[in-house]
Symmetry: C2
Subunit: 275 residues, 2 copies
């Protein structure tokens, strides 16, 4: 997979150091309200395993637990190959700053072979034109939002809901076209970050901003490197919704579809919220 | 939470040793085709954190990565508190046998407070009677199936599909009532195992048994201890489906509902399969 060294995404997820201890640095361009955009941290943790010389296969599953906000500046990632089997490989990662753990993660890689295949999940209501939808104006939003071209097909965050006269909209469902800004060819890292690009569903559901932060985030990859190459720098279609908001935590599931209707990834996260 | 020491589930998930290194032993009563039922391993890993003297709050998220089959006999679980914040706590666990890692896991606990709450996901087609459905006959199936009373409302595994004349059924969706056998009051451990009690969706979809094994499994808990106490030993309603089968891996999502319509947990897993 070709790295695109000059893209802000690649600078933000870039790592130096040895295979077992990588060094990274937060990028202002992917800053969130507190610390960096979670998607960029998840992508960086995945990259730390992908670039390891012992790596075998491509990612199948990634889980990141956010234990504390990542502060502006440098960080270390400890990378450990837990077990390498004939066709699978298991990893643990730990991101720390000044000796304090800020995130832990696990990844499963696999050598995937051709097999009977089928997509059961129906794609979201067909929107064939990736230019359709209301473009998010990043103004007033955290820096990372500027690093994506997001066009809402359904749902949105305030004040978009008012603009679209969706005051009566009561659910948290969102459908959006999304691509890196500027454009960048899709790979496992950008797909990971895009899985986390849906605003916390509480914003949509309650039509207001409240303090919220993901505590655990998982991605399942349903694509090989060749499938992602085929996506190129096209926008992909994201579909997200919450299942339950309960006692200061809610979950949200999301799927990422290519324009030609391939399900590239399914994702879930559980998010703290404060009323 | 009261432990129910004489129940086979509590014997199978029982641990001795120190907080940071627990010792367990596989139980024939929860054996699967290769190694123990994954749900019992996941429940045991959660118990290793729950019983730790530093534990704060109740589980919000659990992820288990199955790196290798667990062999019959003893195993060790290394338990590490990664970070304790004001309201959350992060854990890493590693299950090993003879110094080889067989599973890794992470857990997030939280002190949950009352908040605005809402369940957006609609429950599966209403089936008010937990006695409804076709009872699974465990005959010919692995031992762990005998440890549950499972009644299919929709979907099933061969030869149940034929019995129910669902040959034309093409999806992997399953709905089932389930409770421990013999009965046992619900807690976080049994809820974890029940999240993994759905047969691999490939069996349902293809109406045949093929080699299959979960590589990563996650549970999000939408319930506190008091919610689980209210369930008691009643059956709960499970709903599961696959999203995509692709190149020897598929994912499946599941939800567990109480009889009074509370969403207790959402769960996902990604599973290896061989044609």
């Amino acid at each position: 997979m070709k790295h695109q060294d000059n893209h802000p995404f690649d600078i933000a997820t870039g790592l130096t150091g040895e295979d077992t201890t990588r060094h990274g640095r937060t990028s202002d361009l992917y800053a969130n309200m507190v610390g960096p955009f979670g998607g960029i941290i998840a992508a960086t943790l995945l990259r730390a395993t992908f670039d390891h010389e012992s790596r075998q296969g491509t990612p199948v599953a990634l889980t990141v637990n956010f234990a504390a906000p990542v502060s502006e500046g440098g960080f270390d990632i400890a990378v450990k190959v837990i077990r390498t089997n004939r066709s699978t490989q298991h990893w643990c990662m730990e991101l720390s700053q000044q000796g304090q753990t800020a995130a832990t993660a696990t990844a499963v890689y696999a050598i995937r072979r051709d097999s009977w295949s089928s997509t059961e999940l129906p794609p979201p209501p067909a929107v064939s034109d990736s230019g359709a939808g209301v473009r998010v104006t990043a103004e007033g939003l955290p820096a990372w939002v500027y690093r994506y071209d997001i066009r809402y097909v359904k749902g949105g965050i305030p004040p978009l809901i008012e603009i679209r006269d969706e005051k009566a909209f009561l659910g948290s469902e969102g459908i959006q076209w999304i691509r890196d800004e500027p454009g960048r060819a899709m790979d496992f890292f950008s797909l990971t970050a895009i899985c986390d690009s849906f605003f916390p569903r509480i914003y949509v559901r309650r039509n207001q901003f409240v303090p919220a932060g993901t505590v655990s985030f998982s991605v399942y990859f349903h694509a090989g490197a060749e499938d992602l190459s085929a996506v190129g720098d096209s926008a992909v279609l994201g579909h997200a919704r919450a299942n339950r908001f309960y006692k200061t935590y809610f979950d949200q599931n999301a799927e990422i579809w290519s324009q030609d209707g391939r399900l590239l990834a399914t994702s879930s996260q559980i998010v703290y919220f404060k009323e």
